[in-house]
């Protein structure tokens, strides 16, 4: 509990900013949904058949999983706040429309008859009779919608919409329970407060309510304008994939760029999504830069070349050339460390047998036991291939849950396991990884990816980023990941300390 309290104190400002963003997204989505759903219901009350059709359609929209809606929207409107709001609006329309429509159609027909018999104008009838009588239903629809929006808005973080979901997703990705709880609890509290507020507001007269909405809208719009106006001339958007390591890298990018380019403002979108999200975002111009691995470029992004080199330098050249040719992208120079497959074992064993490379291991492997992740133990580019390439023969081979394998080695249950070279657990459990001296595994080196046109227009940004070329060893990356994922320090702090230590940042 005190740890959680500390977390809240330490991240108070960021949490507040995310909360603000969450409220903003939810409010905008709710307002848009109201502005669409209520007039639609009003228009369709006199066309019951169409009303039923719309009820069906909005009902169907709501059954589509929110992630699918987000996925469908990305090719249409890209990533970020806009598609998040669109998806939320789509969800929120249903309850508001349904309740407004039901509220309007369930008014005592005798009252409608009275309204008509006294020759009321349509406007008068709508605003003085129909809407006030349907208001309790409409407000309960809005309440349902707002609670739904606040809950679903946590998913916005998946496509870079920000908000409290960022903490939930970071929490899951980096195994940080405190972030996860902070995000989840705050969004739950927000939903409760909003629901209560609407309940209170429902006792206020329609007129005052309309004034209130008007004031809120004006505040929102002027806030947005102020926000726009106070931003420096140029904004560069840098996104990172899910997880602690990309988060650290993009903070380094930001610090380096902003140090050299005082009039550039870098906006970071950490935990922005998977590879495809980011790659599409880069192409559509929603984001300007993101760090990508050479291996990923060659394996999944470019159309498959005939021969993929596993040598780091050659893979980088190949990846750079293909990205330029096929997509018009510039791939800046890579950092030193490799984030790829390797084999890990206890430090004492490595020292005892003088093991540095996998070739070294093959000399003594018959005396050692091993456990691999299920995929790794079965795929041709995993253990079976490795075995042939190096002539490895272990005393025993078993499969194991990936999350358990490092600890199993540390606890001496097994001796060797598969590993990602920069995984923080290697540092945590005092393991070492062996060099893939025959380049069996594809090379995974990280480097900034951007449009060629962007690189051409921003030579100084390119220069700033190139300072990382050949920097950051596997060990250093491992340590930083350890600090962020296991120690729960902030990526921004860890990145800054590293850059200062390397004298790249004053």
């Amino acid at each position: 509990m005190t740890a959680f309290g500390n977390y809240l104190v330490k991240n108070g400002n960021d949490l507040l900013a995310s909360l603000g963003q969450h409220i903003f997204i939810s409010l905008v989505a709710a307002l848009i949904a109201i502005v669409i759903a209520i007039p639609l219901a009003v228009a369709l009350v006199n066309h019951r058949r169409w009303g039923e059709v719309v009820l069906q359609v909005t009902g169907v929209v709501q059954t589509i999983p929110s992630l699918a809606v987000l996925g469908l929207l990305i090719p249409l409107v890209g990533i970020g706040t806009v598609p998040s709001i669109i998806a939320l609006v789509l969800y929120a329309i249903m309850p508001i429309f349904q309740n407004t429509y039901a509220g309007l159609t369930n008014i005592d027909p005798l009252l409608i008859e009275a309204a008509d018999a006294f020759g009321m104008s349509r406007r008068f009838k709508l605003f003085r009779v129909q809407l006030p009588l349907a208001m309790p239903m409409i407000l309960s629809g809005i309440r349902i919608a707002v609670v739904l929006i606040i809950g679903t808005a946590t998913l916005a973080a998946l496509i870079g919409g920000g908000g409290l979901g960022t903490y939930i997703i970071t929490g899951i990705q980096t195994n940080n329970d405190q972030a996860l709880i902070a995000g989840a609890v705050l969004s739950a509290i927000l939903a409760l407060v909003a629901s209560w507020l609407i309940k209170v507001l429902s006792r206020v007269s329609v007129k005052k309510l309309l004034y209130g909405l008007g004031i809120l809208a004006v505040l929102g719009v002027s806030g947005g304008i102020y926000h726009q106006a106070t931003q420096p001339k140029e904004t560069i958007t840098i996104a990172g994939k899910l997880g602690g390591e990309p988060d650290i890298l993009i903070h380094m990018y930001k610090d380096l760029i902003e140090q050299d380019n005082p009039n550039v403002h870098v906006v970071l979108k950490p935990n922005f999504g998977g590879t495809t999200f980011l790659f599409k975002g880069l192409q559509s111009g929603k984001i300007d830069i993101y760090p990508e691995f050479t291996g990923t470029v060659l394996q999944t992004l470019v159309k498959q070349p005939k021969h993929v080199s596993h040598d780091p330098a050659k893979s980088y050249q190949q990846a750079k050339a293909l990205l330029k040719k096929q997509y018009g992208l510039d791939y800046l120079k890579p950092m030193k460390y490799q984030n790829n497959y390797s084999l890990a074992l206890r430090k004492q064993d490595a020292e005892k047998y003088h093991l540095k490379t996998i070739s070294d291991l093959s000399q003594v492997s018959t005396t050692l036991t091993s456990a691999f992740d299920t995929d790794f133990s079965q795929q041709k580019d995993g253990y079976p291939g490795l075995k042939t390439a190096y002539g490895l023969v272990f005393k025993s081979v078993q499969t194991m849950e990936p999350s358990l394998r490092y600890q199993a080695v540390a606890d001496r249950k097994v001796d060797v396991t598969d590993a990602y070279t920069t995984d923080p657990q290697i540092r945590q459990y005092h393991l070492v990884t062996l060099k893939d001296d025959k380049s069996f595994f594809p090379a995974y080196q990280g480097a900034p990816l951007m449009k060629a046109s962007f690189a051409k227009q921003h030579p100084r940004v390119v220069k700033s980023l190139n300072q990382l070329n050949g920097k950051v060893t596997t060990k250093q990356m491992q340590e930083m990941n350890y600090q962020v994922t296991v120690k729960h320090r902030k990526a921004a702090t860890v990145a800054r300390e590293f850059l200062q230590q390397q004298h790249l940042l004053k």
């Binding site: 018999a117 006294f118 104008s121 009588l133």
Partner: protein
Amino acid sequence: MIEFENVSKTYEQQPALNDLNLTINDGELFVLVGPSGSGKTTLLKMINKLIEPTTGTVKIDGQDVGAADIRQLRHQIGYVLQAGALFPNMTVEQNAAIQLDQLDWDVRQKHDRINELLTRVDLDPQTYMERMPSELSGGEAQRVGIVRALASQPKLILMDEPFSALDPLSRRRLQQLVLKLHQELACTIVFVTHDMQEAIKLADRLAVIHNGDLLQVGRPQEIIANPASEFVADFFDDGTTRNLFLSQVLKTGFGRLPEPADQPVKLAGTDTIFTWADLLNQHPRQLVTVDDLVLEPQDLLSYMSQIGQVS
């Protein structure tokens, strides 16, 4: 003057009114009476175009309702619905002034008008102006309903079973109120009811409707004396109706020969005991003569107690 000319109405192939001709004169309190489902409401709503006839025409003062501007038409017609049908989101004053809002009366004028009318229907404006409909009894709500219908001083007022949901006491009081207002305001009232007693009590003239057919039109006494069909006769004869007429009072044995000192008012055998009671209400000692026999005020009480024992 309201004229129905060859009016028919069919709902989804179901006839509701069959080729109906009827004229309602200015200043009449005209009652449409018949069992429920007979087509009374349909007929009434054709007057303010809430329902349009399938064939035939409805005219008000010679103007075809079908061709009239619908809102202008309705602004000149008062309408009283069942149980008041007040808007639950508005105060008594707002409810009552609803038609005045449409006619752009200014606030002061509206307020004064509603004030005057509430007093007229025996509701204290101080107490009732700001109340919500949920804070009114059934009878009070319907009084407000009547004020709402009278607000713009319409020459024509339509009432559709306005008192059928009320308790007998409130109903009787409101019937009295309608009679009083009708006299004071000199307007035309078209009143729909399925209650034959109510029809007799209120009507200057009434129309009996059954299964969409207009069976008979006339003054209550005439219809009871000469029912046009067996249905009409049955409808009005539930054993007590006959007792309401002065001819029956004489048949029961009341009435004495006139004396020179008498100054009686002449009534007909087809007049009802309500007319007599009304008269006595205003002049408690008034003698009346029916068919050359004199009835004393005391006779009414004796007669009432007698028919009370029989029925």
